[in-house]
Amino acid sequence: MNWKMSRVVTTIADVLVAPIAIFGIYLILHGHLTPGGGFQGGAVVASSTALLIIAHGAFGEHKKDLSSLESTGLTLFILLALFGLGYTMFYNYLAGTGTLFGAEVPSGINPGYINTGGTVTLMNIAVGMEVIAALSLILWMMAKRSGSMDLETSRSEVEE
């Protein structure tokens, strides 16, 4: 596994990375309306990272960036939970107040609006940040430290 993949795979991976990441971000942002949420969307975005790693190799030094992104997500999640502590923990203090993500939902069956949800939407984003960073970091560390993904040689040089 010490060579780059062929040009067909590299091009297809480059084309496919953006739709996968956008679909994962859609799953995260619409977590309070459709099936999905922070964990599922984060896993989909992390699989786009896996596609990049398999096509181009585990290049660069991203350990500190990913680690700090993960810590930021978890801290944001805990802070959002703790801000509702005047009532109980995880109290949804933004729902229906008209501020950020605070619009009111008409009762009954309706298609749903993105500007609702209160802290649920923000917690989806926080958990999504954490899961993206955590799964990407696990994959990247495994690929990098196993020593098999440096990708300094191309395939034809290996065959010769």
Partner: protein, 85 residues
């Protein structure tokens, strides 16, 4: 016509048993990883049939893609054949 849904469950669960048995029985670890991916995919289809789309997405993303990738990195770093040494 509800029996057609029951037949669907039966077929998917039977395939799940076949692939899960393959995971345990294979000595070739890469074949076991492939079988684990197939088992995870069929488990996701079963969640889909039970109308739990959230769990189906999570199972497909984590079980099928990321776990297989991590297992293949681990097999690449160690040995392919299972054995006692």
């Amino acid at each position: 016509m509800f029996w057609i849904y029951q037949i669907l469950h039966l077929l998917v669960l039977l395939s799940l048993i076949v692939t899960a048995l393959a995971v345990v029985r294979f000595k070739d670890l890469i074949s076991a990883a492939i079988s684990l991916g197939a088992s995870s995919l069929l488990l996701s289809l079963e969640f889909y049939l039970l109308r739990a789309p959230d769990v189906a997405i999570a199972e497909a993303a984590v079980g099928a893609a990321l776990t297989t990738a991590i297992y293949i990195f681990a097999i690449k770093s160690t040995e392919r054949e299972e054995g006692y040494k």
